[in-house]
Amino acid sequence: MEPIMSYATQDVWTWWIAVYLFLGGLGAATLTVTFLTDMYLKQHKCLVMWGAVSGVVMLGAGSAMLFMHLLHHAAVIHILNPLVLFYKPDAWIAWGTQFIIWMMWWGVLYALPYIVESPFYQRLPLVRHLIRWPFVLKIAALCERYHKAIGWLATINGIGTAVYTGLLLQSFPAVALWHNPGVPLLFTVSAFSTAMAYLLLVLHVIVNRPEDHDVRVFYERLDLMLIAGELVILFSFYHYMQSGSEALYRSAELLWTDMGWLVGFIGFGLLVPFALELHGVLKGWSSRLPIVTASVLVLVGGYLLRHYFLYAGVYARPW
């Protein structure tokens, strides 16, 4: 058989899956970083409440994006059942769905002891009645007792969700750009980098307290290292894509000649925030504006990475 190959990108999973992967990774990593900060760096009830609520909202919004685009919505019941992991342990979407669902539960439960005593939530319509129920108060007390165990369960699920967003693409053998172990690594590093950026935004814009300076500096340093790591992985991808298969080479032609990828993602999504955060770590900034700008750029870059990665996947077709 002498095939005559043709090469094509796909229009099956487009921007809506990029949003799902972005919000899934960002939401899960936000919850994980928030809880680890609270458990081991500095107890920070306000950050936990912001991180938990926004993380759960992000995970919910990302999952809703996937759900809305399903062809047969009622059949989603099959993957909401945790038993799916026993009869479909080889399907990453099954794992991802369970990670996300449990991540949301652990996220709410970890924050619950802080929420019930928070003056803000005690004033919030509907919520103020809900958190006064004896049942909810009992659960909150139980959560406080097992706070670290819940925090670690959330952490495991959070890391699992972030890795899953990359493993999902890796499980498609027909596309050389996706079917390699670099993808889960890249998406995980990117998820945690965007989470750092989001939490820096929270700590600079919403919870702007002087006593959190050490947490902000720690996040900036971590984000700097994550962006550096992301750049190294992307450099490796660039070289990997220069040869190996025609489909991979065509993916390289699509990605590395696209201004949205080069200028939008690599330039403004990685290099500019890297420079801004490096300056902040080495010499400091007199204003919070540069770090806020860097955080917004990292968040936009996080979406662009997934968007362009999906669009640049090339299939080799033997006809």
Binding site: M1, E2, P3, I4, Q10, V12, W13, L66, L70, L71, H72, H73, A75, V76, H78, I79, V84, Y87, K88, D90, A91, W92, I93, A94, T97, L168, S171, F172, P173, A174, V175, Y315, A316, R317, P318, W319
Partner: protein, 203 residues
């Protein structure tokens, strides 16, 4: 144990598309949006002085290691002991991961609107739920001892269907001889649709 496979001889395919029509009628595919379980590509190869026209029938390869089955989160895609890969449309939620995983472009969407149109177009509907549909090797015919509709209707006998595990089966013999080759074997999907290359084009 039976292992069904198909051999397609590109030398005898005349591009009449009867296989597409037979399959569409048999399986109620959404032809109104140009979606088929089997499709015959028509390609011109060469230059003006030495031009060849090649017809290339394509369908689900019923892989022994099907990536569409692995990625399916609900278990809607499953495999019979005889190797035929099927879709349970009641269980399929239509996430399209199978379409992303398939190297042979064998999956297509059947939406709520298609289910409705199929009832008007074909009469008695064969499916009631949206799903990511694909070729079934006409499993419902095969279990009655019949050949798949596309094989039955092929005027050039380009399509042959048989059991790879029966050494006397002509399909098994063609595959064992090495004349018939699978598509993209390097991906490790172990496809069960084999092609005999168009010898005329290659001189």
């Amino acid at each position: 144990m039976t292992r069904y496979a198909m051999v397609i001889d590109l030398n005898t395919c005349v591009g009449c598309n009867a296989c597409m029509a037979a399959c569409a009628m048999e399986n109620q595919t959404p032809v109104w949006k140009n979606k088929w379980r089997t499709y015959v590509h028509d390609k011109e190869i060469g230059t003006a002085e030495d031009l060849h026209r090649r017809f290339f029938p394509r369908l689900c390869n019923h892989c022994s290691n099907p990536p569409c089955l692995t990625v399916c989160p609900t278990g809607a895609t499953y495999q019979l002991d005889n190797g035929i890969v099927l879709v349970d449309d009641e269980r399929c939620m239509g996430c399209r991961a199978c379409a992303m995983a398939c190297p042979y472009d064998a999956r297509y969407e059947v939406t709520y609107a298609d289910v409705k149109t199929a009832t008007e177009f074909y009469g008695e509907p064969k499916r009631r739920h949206p799903s990511m549909d694909k070729c079934s090797f006409c499993a419902h015919r095969v279990e009655k001892g019949l050949k798949p509709a596309c094989v039955e209707t092929c005027v050039g006998s380009a399509r042959m269907f048989g059991d790879l595990h029966d050494p006397d089966d002509p399909v098994a013999k063609l595959v064992a001889s090495g004349i018939a080759q699978p598509l993209l074997p390097h991906l490790g999907t172990k496809p069960n649709v084999y092609y005999i290359g168009d010898l005329k084009r290659r001189g």
